[in-house]
């Protein structure tokens, strides 16, 4: 049987990625060819038993590589302690303070225009009683968390500023002695001096949504009366930046539409208003999926990533050339967490799912609980409990073990690097295997990119070492 590996070659070398050890191995051309032709040649193959490649393959096998798939059962390792994890270590709670919003963004998941069935705009607000109950629930379920994290979410949460003030006062009382991290995601149009002063004073991390230059931002982000919001957001952001001593308290989130010109979006990162701020971005979603990128966008992105690596190795003062690639590139180049070697046990699960409700538990206006803010609130299979009834552990377990609906996962080379979770399979009251499978090619693409980036990094390093030796006159 073919081992669970993914072979790759570049102009400079040959490699394979070993799924069950999460390692990338550099090999010579002979071994590579043998691995690629594994099925057609059979394990002993046409290659002479004593050939160099065959011997090397045997050696790799002795070292524990090139193994056949041996995952016996798909079960997430956290399943055993699920009850205790959710009883004691919910890291963050997001309070959906309102479902109202003063904007009608064209891609918004709440909007009538692009409602993909995940949720809808309504006039619902969270009451103080529900908010208090949510904080109490979080308090009861986070005893093992040294830091407490509370996020304000909407709709537009600043429509409920009075409630925010009351919640913060309550939390300061309840969690006194702990580091409390407050955060808010806002469209930035309602930020008055009073609100800004309050948020800054209480060290609330503020993320303002800003999609790019005026033409791009205003295309989607519009007031109810259809007027663009760019000018209001920029004005408030300037003021906010001025008020925040710690610039990291204030961040900008860009929703990037790949139909726009790459350079135009990318140049926006250099705008003075964004200087010193933490700017994050994500791709606009369509029908619960990330919108496909245009060829122009994709190739520009790839090229800028490549330039990033080149700069990283050639220049002393590294600064990513482009805001769009900066975050992802720095993550991979400097602190790569994807390729920590391990050995997959016989009972395990693909890399995608986190424990639903543990990282970013969302309490909606009515006190229903969801794994995070990204899931469909209208799919009942994603409702994992309520403030009154607590967690529905059976449902949580089903979402955590979403891989069990697609048993073929155990034979997929991208198993450990997979990013598909229950969110992608939500279909009304059940998790749907077909919906989940739709994500597979994208997930494998991401896994491939991670491996390719890692190899690029490795080859650049090797090249740089050679160049240095050459410079120093050592050969």
């Amino acid at each position: 049987m073919k081992p669970l590996i993914y072979p790759l070659k570049t102009p400079l070398g040959y490699y394979f990625y070993e799924t069950q050890r999460n390692e990338i191995i550099a090999v010579n051309e002979g071994i590579y060819e043998r691995i690629v032709n594994w099925e057609s040649e059979g394990e002993t193959g046409d290659v002479q038993a004593g050939s160099e490649a065959a011997l090397a393959v045997e050696e790799l096998k002795d070292l524990g590589y090139l193994r056949e798939p041996y995952i016996e059962k798909l079960e997430h390792p956290a399943t055993k302690y699920l009850d205790i994890i959710l009883e004691r270590r919910v890291s963050k709670i997001l309070l959906q303070l309102t479902q109202r919003c003063n904007l009608r963004c064209r891609y918004c998941v709440y909007s009538e225009e692009k409602n993909f069935g995940t949720r809808s705009h309504s006039n619902k607000d969270m009451s103080y009683e529900t908010a208090k109950k949510a904080v109490d629930f979080y308090m009861e379920h986070s005893v093992d968390c040294e830091e407490k994290a509370i996020g304000f979410y909407g709709g537009e949460p600043l429509l409920q500023f009075g409630l925010i003030k009351k919640i913060i006062a309550y939390c300061n009382d309840v969690f006194r002695g702990h580091k409390i991290i407050y955060s808010i995601t806002t469209n930035g149009t309602l930020l008055t001096d009073e609100i800004m002063d309050f948020l800054v004073k209480n060290q609330v991390y503020i993320t303002v949504s800003l999609d790019g230059p005026k033409e791009i931002h205003d295309k989607n982000r519009r007031f109810v009366n259809d007027a663009g919001t760019y000018d209001a957001v920029i004005r408030n952001l300037e003021k906010l930046k001025h008020k925040c001593e710690d610039k990291l308290q204030c961040a900008v989130n860009m929703v990037v539409d790949p139909d726009n010109d790459y350079q135009e979006v990318s140049n926006f990162f250099h705008e003075p208003v964004l200087k010193g701020l933490n700017v994050r971005w994500n791709m606009v979603e369509e029908e619960n999926e990330i919108k496909r990128t245009s060829e122009q966008f994709e190739s520009a992105y790839e090229y800028q990533t490549f330039l990033g690596y080149v700069r990283y190795f050639r220049e002393e003062n590294f600064d990513a050339p482009d805001g769009l690639v900066k975050g992802a590139f720095e993550g991979r180049a400097i602190s790569d967490s994807h390729f920590q070697a391990f050995e997959l046990p016989g009972v395990t699960a693909p890399g995608g799912p986190c424990v639903p409700g543990k990282m970013r538990l969302l309490a909606d206006c009515d006190g229903n609980l969801f794994p995070c803010e990204r899931v469909s609130e209208t799919s009942s299979c994603m409702k994992i409990g309520s403030l009154d009834a607590g967690f529905d552990l059976e449902k949580v377990s089903r979402i955590l073990n979403v891989s069990q609906i697609t048993e073929e996962c155990r034979n997929c080379w991208a198993f450990a690097l997979c990013s598909v979770c229950g969110k992608h399979a939500a279909d009304g009251d059940a998790l749907c295997a077909e919906l989940k499978r739709k994500q597979c090619s994208g997930a494998r693409g991401n896994a491939w990119r991670q491996i390719a980036d890692r190899i690029l990094l490795y080859e650049n390093m090797a090249h740089e070492k050679k160049m240095r030796k050459k410079k120093e006159g050592k050969f």
């Binding site: 390792p77 956290a78 302690y81 205790i84 994890i85 004691r88 270590r89 890291s91 308090m139 005893v143 093992d144 009382d173 309840v174 969690f175 006194r176 002695g177 702990h178 580091k179 409390i180 602190s335 967490s337 920590q340 986190c354």
Partner: protein, 366 residues
Amino acid sequence: MNKEKVCIVPFTKKEIPLLACMPDNYEISSVVSAGTELEGKEISFLTNRRELGFTASTDWRNGIRECGIIIITDIGMEKERHLGDLLYEIIGQALGERKKVICFAELEEARRREFEILAKQNGAIFTYACDPYGKREKTRFEKIRFQAPVIYLGEMTQECDGYEIALKLMKRFEQDNLRGALISEDKYNALYEHQYFMQFHDGNGLEHSVEEVKALVNGIEEVEKPDVIILKLPWPMTAFDHNIPYDYGVHAFIISQAVHADYCVYCGLSEMLSEDFISNINEHFRHKFGYPIDAFHISNQILDVVYEPQEKAETIYIPMGRVEGEARALREQTGEPVYQLLNENDFELFYQGLKKELFDFSYGRI
């Protein structure tokens, strides 16, 4: 014995060992938490263990009124900031009521002086117990032979119950009329006789801190003539993983070269509960430190797998009963010395084994 009533504030899980092993002349009258999250709850809730017999309150004014001594707990400067002025208000109030304040919290110099003056004015006592034992001006590098057996207590991650076990051991030795001495980085040692707060990471260089340990052990031996010395090692004994290296066990290694261990207790997380793990770590210890592990303590914690970089391993407390049962089963199946040392039966079993190993010789060279 007339016991003095003690109020502990602000209480966190770090102070649980004090509840279990308070000095004989003290009696805890209240445990006060800063936030309302613990209000009315049994303290055992903090570490998911069996009831300890103490309920938390937030009424610090009442706590002060009802006691003679206020213990201000060991909180760092950063944590102090999250308390606002609460800490200063509590100390001020206690000194105003002429109570004795033992302060383990780190205070700024000016604040500390302010409280010392206030105590003097009110005829109260303010003890700042935040400094380690006095260091010698010059480090003597010398060869010392120790007479009393030395027990190493090491941990796999921070807070694997090591301090509570050390205190329990000290108490148990006392019951058997054995004189113990404990050296560790825990400031609360100042509450007990024969216990020493030693700061291993004082910026003076590794070799100096190691020499200090050696000199301290020697000094204690010469003056106190203990029957046994417990050395709770600073920091975890090995790197936890790629992301959390701690100090790679460098301090533990160098100390192990300076002071020979006669017995080693290793405290770890529940993930250790497998024969493979036990035999691998034992092998690793033999190679790295030159001695095996004589007893394993399995804490009722599991590792919390998080995806952001961390400075220390984050854990989740699982019910004590689960770990006790699994530790017992592993011990019985494999014969490995695996215990849950917060469980009284396990502790006694472990203690008798340790005593036999260290003190009950049928023959020996003199």
